[in-house]
């Protein structure tokens, strides 16, 4: 190193002092009996080491973080794909489970009524007309279906065969305006007619104002229409208003008409055992129809038509004895499904 002559003594001074400082550092010991030169060396060397370790660890951390992030992104994508597949599979399984449940219910109903000829059918379509409540099923003339045959589910009445084709058939639902079912109140055995209104709720006509009934009271088929066997669930009372001479009763259909997928078509008018459908395997002997004739409902409920005028004329169906023949009952439904002439709608 070329040092100017003018600065040479100063450089030499510094060098001599440094040399002696090092000499001192070799001799002097600090706490823990460590030589000062070691303390200085550590003081000089450890900060760069710390800095180096810090920088390297940061770089490693950033790199591993980037790699982890990259892996996480891929893993996340895989998981998202898997979740999508599982959701789809879950939906399929749920659908299959629901279908199995429905089919089990149908099977139970069928086993409870082995002596009754019926055909299971799948709903394949609905009406394209918003004013009519109809569905299409995948059974037709080849399967023995004829017009006016009853269509039911284990929950209750669905409707009747309206048109029959070779392999399909059109079903008129009980909610259709043109539909009518001979019915009776389960508790009082009061007869009437359940008509469709085009709405989700039904209307039960020809029940006099003096008749006591309850919200939730069950409405069954009376069998007087020659279409539906007796004592099939039609619906439950949703509301009742007194009127003259008949009450205005709205009913909720027993069958889930808004989500029909499988139905049963009765090939006969024989009575069924609809109450046996819940536990088909446990009951080998079908319950008799007469047992269904007993009054059902919640006795604790207050009658909603108890304030009806007493002078209202009660139809023949008001009697608690077995229903009279269809000819004597004004609420008899024509086999075609249309309402009787003069019936209030």
């Amino acid at each position: 190193m070329d040092v100017p002559a003018r600065h040479r003594p100063l450089v030499l001074l510094v060098a001599v002092i440094l040399a002696q400082l090092l000499l001192l550092a070799f001799q002097i010991k600090r706490g823990q009996d460590v030589r000062l030169i070691r303390v200085w060396a550590a003081a000089v060397l450890t900060p760069p080491q710390h800095a180096g370790i810090f920088v390297i660890s940061k770089i490693e951390g950033a790199w591993s973080g980037y790699i982890d992030l990259w892996h996480a992104q891929r893993y996340n994508q895989q998981l998202a794909d898997e979740v999508g597949k599982l959701r789809l599979k879950n939906q399929q399984l749920e659908g299959q489970a629901a279908e199995a449940g429905r089919l089990a219910k149908l099977l139970g109903f069928r086993q409870a009524n082995l002596n009754v000829p019926m055909v299971a059918a799948e709903v394949i379509g609905a009406s394209a007309d918003s004013n009519s409540e109809t569905i299409f099923i995948n059974r037709g003339e080849h399967d023995g279906l004829r017009r006016n045959m009853a269509v039911i589910t284990p929950d209750g009445v669905v409707g009747k065969i309206f048109e029959v084709f070779s392999h399909t058939a059109q079903v008129l639902l009980i909610t259709d305006k043109e539909s009518g079912v001979g019915a009776l109140l389960a508790n009082t055995r009061t007869h009437g007619v359940v008509n469709g209104t085009g709405d989700p709720l039904l209307r039960m006509d020809y029940v006099t104002t003096g008749e006591k009934l309850f919200v939730g009271e069950e409405i069954l088929t009376s069998g007087e229409d020659r279409i539906f066997p007796k004592d099939l669930p039609v619906g439950t009372v949703a509301s009742a208003k007194p009127g003259y001479p008949f009450q205005t009763i709205r009913a909720k259909p027993a069958a889930h008409l808004d989500r029909l997928e499988e139905v049963l078509v009765l090939l006969t008018e024989e009575s069924l055992n609809p109450r046996q459908t819940e536990a088909p395997a446990a009951s080998a002997t079908p319950e008799k129809t007469s047992s269904n004739s007993k009054p059902r409902g919640n006795a604790a409920k207050a009658p909603i038509a108890s304030r009806a005028p007493k002078n209202a004329a009660a139809p023949a169906s008001h009697a608690k004895t077995p229903p009279p023949p269809a000819k004597k009952n004004p609420a008899v439904v024509k086999p075609t499904g249309t309402n009787p002439p003069g019936a209030p709608r």
């Binding site: 040479r8 030499l12 001074l13 002092i17 002696q20 001192l24 550092a25």
Partner: protein, 172 residues
């Protein structure tokens, strides 16, 4: 003998000494320092090696030779003392360097100037020692005290006479 030489565009006098005079004077100062301290604690106020370094630094007026002479004397003093080797070496090396540098610029032949210079150099020496001891040994050491003041005055007074005696060692 006095040699005229150019030093930073100035004509300065550089004194030369008889053969071995510098070495003998330095060794003698160290020995005497140790010898006198044995007899009385009052002699601890004297700093004969420092006075010798200052004198030869001022006389020879060469910073490098002043540095080495001061360092050598200081290391020897460390050697015969119970101090880490280099403590006095640094202090006396710096004093030798400064004295040589100052000697090239100031009149160092007059007794008063010698008294003042020795007084100043004594305290500079003490400051360097105190700083070194404080930093390296982590031990408190006073920069200035009454005792140091008295010692500096005594050393300055002794230096006036000692330097006059050492002047006799110069080559005529």
């Amino acid at each position: 003998m006095t040699i005229q030489m150019d030093f930073e565009d100035q004509h300065i006098e550089v004194h030369e000494f008889r053969g071995g005079a510098v070495a003998i004077a330095c060794v003698l100062a160290l020995v005497l320092q140790a010898f006198l301290n044995k007899f009385s604690a009052h002699f601890q106020l004297l700093e004969l090696p420092l006075l010798v370094v200052i004198y030869f630094g001022l006389s020879r007026r060469n910073p490098i030779s002043g540095l080495f002479l001061g360092t050598a004397v200081g290391l020897l003093q460390d050697g015969i003392s119970h101090t880490p080797i280099g403590l006095y070496g640094i202090a006396k090396g710096v004093i030798g360097y400064i004295a040589s540098s100052v000697g090239a610029r100031l009149d160092t032949e007059h007794p008063i100037s010698r008294f003042i210079l020795v007084f100043l150099f004594f305290h500079i020496h003490q400051v360097i020692l105190a700083v070194t001891i404080h930093l390296l040994l982590a031990r408190p050491e006073p920069f200035f005290s009454t005792q140091l003041l008295i010692a500096s005055l005594i050393n300055s007074a002794v230096a006036v006479f000692l330097f006059a005696g050492l002047d006799q060692l110069r080559k005529q």
